[in-house]
């Protein structure tokens, strides 16, 4: 089956005025995303996440390497038929109302008539902006803009959705709603490619993650593989009495070979992995 996203050895350099050596924002990154998968790209600020996404959308031309969406080269217009994009800090035409914005983007995708109107209503409902449908975007809050951006990305029912920090500036409730929405998209078989700094959420929704640092992919794989520690086993108990825990401890001690490292609530570990792969990384 044809991959939803295929980024091969992508290199992107920016020529900076006044500098001799160009800035290498993305350095030999390859990402393949299967249809229906939710892929999370994480990395510190300025590591090249947005640049990789823009190259995938043909907004910047790769210095080397290729990008394609469902087999269509990203530099061709046709590749954008099947993709919805939410840029980081999205900003739309202030003079349009919420409904007009969605109508505008829908028309650009070739939708029209009653089916477009229906879609606009559905999407506004989906992102919880029905009440603000006839207000101009100039008066929208940051979180509302983020949501209208999400709705706009979904307007032509694309098979791939690219979300650049979908939860930035969104309150915890909204952020949860966006997470649920991603689950819903996944349920419908839509491929999602997102990047976010909310590692807890990435861990919750993504099937696979890639960690990018200074333009290079430093770790990639399915979440299960990345986060499982091979020589450790987690036993999660419900309603365990202190007596039972004491017994478990005793049993472990009696075993001799095994060792109880910690007993308590399971913790987010993608965060730990992230820090280990980026901050604690020895210079390559």
């Amino acid at each position: 089956m044809e991959s939803a996203v295929e980024i091969r050895h992508l290199v992107k350099e920016f020529r900076l005025p006044g500098h001799k050596t160009p800035l290498r924002a993305v350095d030999d990154v390859s990402i393949t995303i299967a249809p229906g998968e939710v892929y999370g790209l994480i990395g510190p600020n300025g590591s090249g996440k947005s640049t990789a996404m823009k190259a995938l959308l043909g907004l910047v031309a790769p210095t080397a390497g290729t990008c394609s969406i469902f087999g269509n080269d990203s530099l061709k217009v046709d590749s954008r038929q099947e993709v919805g994009f939410l840029p980081e800090n999205p900003y739309f035409y202030k003079h349009l109302t919420g409904a007009e914005t969605l109508r505008f983007y829908g028309k650009l995708c070739g939708l029209r008539g009653p089916s477009l109107e229906k879609k606009v209503g559905e999407l506004l409902e989906l992102v919880d902006l029905t009440g603000a449908r006839d207000r101009r975007l100039g008066g929208y809050s940051k979180g509302m803009l983020q949501r209208i951006g999400l709705a706009q990305a979904l307007v032509q029912e694309p098979r791939l959705v690219i979300l650049d920090e979908p939860t930035a500036g969104v309150d915890p409730i909204g952020s949860r709603q966006i997470r649920d929405l991603i689950f819903e998209l996944k349920g419908r078989g839509i491929t999602v490619f997102l990047c976010s700094h909310l590692l807890e959420q990435v861990q919750e929704v993504c099937d696979r993650v890639g960690i990018i640092f200074r333009g290079r992919m430093v770790k990639e794989g399915s979440l299960d593989d990345l986060l499982s520690i091979d020589d450790q086993t987690e036993v999660i108990l419900r309603n365990a009495s202190p007596e039972l825990l004491a017994k478990v401890r005793e049993a472990v001690l009696a075993d001799g070979a095994a060792e109880l490292i910690r007993a308590g609530k399971p913790k987010t570990t993608l965060e730990r992995l992230f820090l280990q792969e980026t901050l604690d990384r020895k210079e390559p």
Binding site: G58, V60, F70, V77, E82, V83, Y93, H95, L108, G149
Partner: protein, 314 residues
């Protein structure tokens, strides 16, 4: 979009450049954007100028055929002058505003992330500005025609009164009337307004071209106006050189002249507007020629803009 363009082949034919519906969506969007930026407020200024030109009183010269003629000429000349000013400023500023604004606000990302060819985007923007220019000039033409027709009525009446007093023969009065009506609302006058539109269209497409390689509104606006003045000045210089000795032009001036000729049509062509103000006729053939020349330059500008814009990164 047909329902058959589904999963299997993801290459619907409508993604070819210059899809009329997509360009239309972008055009009307740009038009709405400019209208909601309150650009129509300047129509108020136009009305004020028109009223001011209308305040001139009929003067008695003792010559019936001269009675009030200058009033009509003032209205025509002030109106067309104001139209030229507004349409040029609007063409340059509006166009210069649109593209860098989309880049700065990053609204361009969301548009180009949809299946929108870059040529369609540019064409839509330009046509939106042209639509705005056309509709505002159309409104101004209506206003001017209305005022002119009213004053015309006054002028004819006072001429008739003066002629009756001077005991002019009937055929002389009829001839005078024809002459006076040539100063009123004529097809040539509408043609001149259309020529104003054509000139602003060239300025809009030139500003679009400039804005594809500058990202700042200010830069585009300044260069736009500079080119406008150079173009006008150069047109005069070119004619002076051709009509005069032709010796005075050095190689540098010639090269500059050639450069301008590549960017702009000969602005001297638009001097018909002035002769129409003086009451000359504007034959359909020269209007057609002017339209053709303008279309050529607008398409040339659009094409070069597209060449620059298609390689651009954001």
């Amino acid at each position: 979009m047909t329902a058959t363009a589904t999963a299997g082949r993801s290459v619907p034919p409508s993604n070819r450049p210059l899809n009329p519906r997509r360009v239309g969506v972008l055009m009307f969007h740009t038009f709405t954007q400019l209208v909601r930026m309150k650009v129509f407020y300047f129509m108020g200024f136009f009305a004020v100028i028109l009223l001011a030109s209308n305040l001139f009183n009929l003067q008695s010269f003792g010559q019936p055929d001269m009675e009030g003629m200058d009033v009509l000429r003032t209205i025509r000349s002030w109106s067309l002058g104001a139209m030229t000013l507004f349409s040029t400023v609007l063409a340059i500023v509006a166009t210069a505003l649109l593209l860098p604004k989309d880049v700065e606000d990053r609204t361009l990302y969301t548009i180009l992330a949809k299946p929108v060819p870059r040529l369609d985007y540019l064409t839509g923007k330009l046509l939106g500005v042209l639509l705005l220019l056309f509709s505002s000039l159309f409104l101004m033409d209506l206003l001017m025609s209305g005022v002119l027709a009213l004053r015309m009525h006054d002028v004819v009446n006072s001429q008739l009164a003066a002629a009756a007093k001077a005991n002019w023969p009937a055929d002389q009065i009829a001839a005078m009337r024809v002459q006076t009506e040539a100063q009123g609302v004529t097809w040539s006058l509408h043609g001149a307004v259309f020529a104003v539109f054509l000139r602003s269209a060239v300025m809009a497409s030139a500003a679009l071209l400039i804005s594809t390689f500058s990202t700042s509104t200010l830069f585009t606006t300044i260069i736009g106006f500079l080119l406008y003045f150079i173009g006008n000045f150069q047109a005069d210089a070119r004619h002076a050189a051709l009509g005069g000795t032709g010796e005075g032009t050095g190689p540098l001036a010639k090269a500059a002249g050639l450069g301008i000729a590549v960017i702009f049509p000969d602005f001297q062509l638009f001097n018909v507007i002035d002769s129409v103000i003086e009451g000359a006729a504007f034959p359909l053939s020269s209007l057609g020629m002017l339209t053709g020349v303008t279309a050529f330059y607008v398409i040339l500008h659009l094409f070069v803009s597209w060449l620059v814009f298609s390689g651009k990164e954001f």
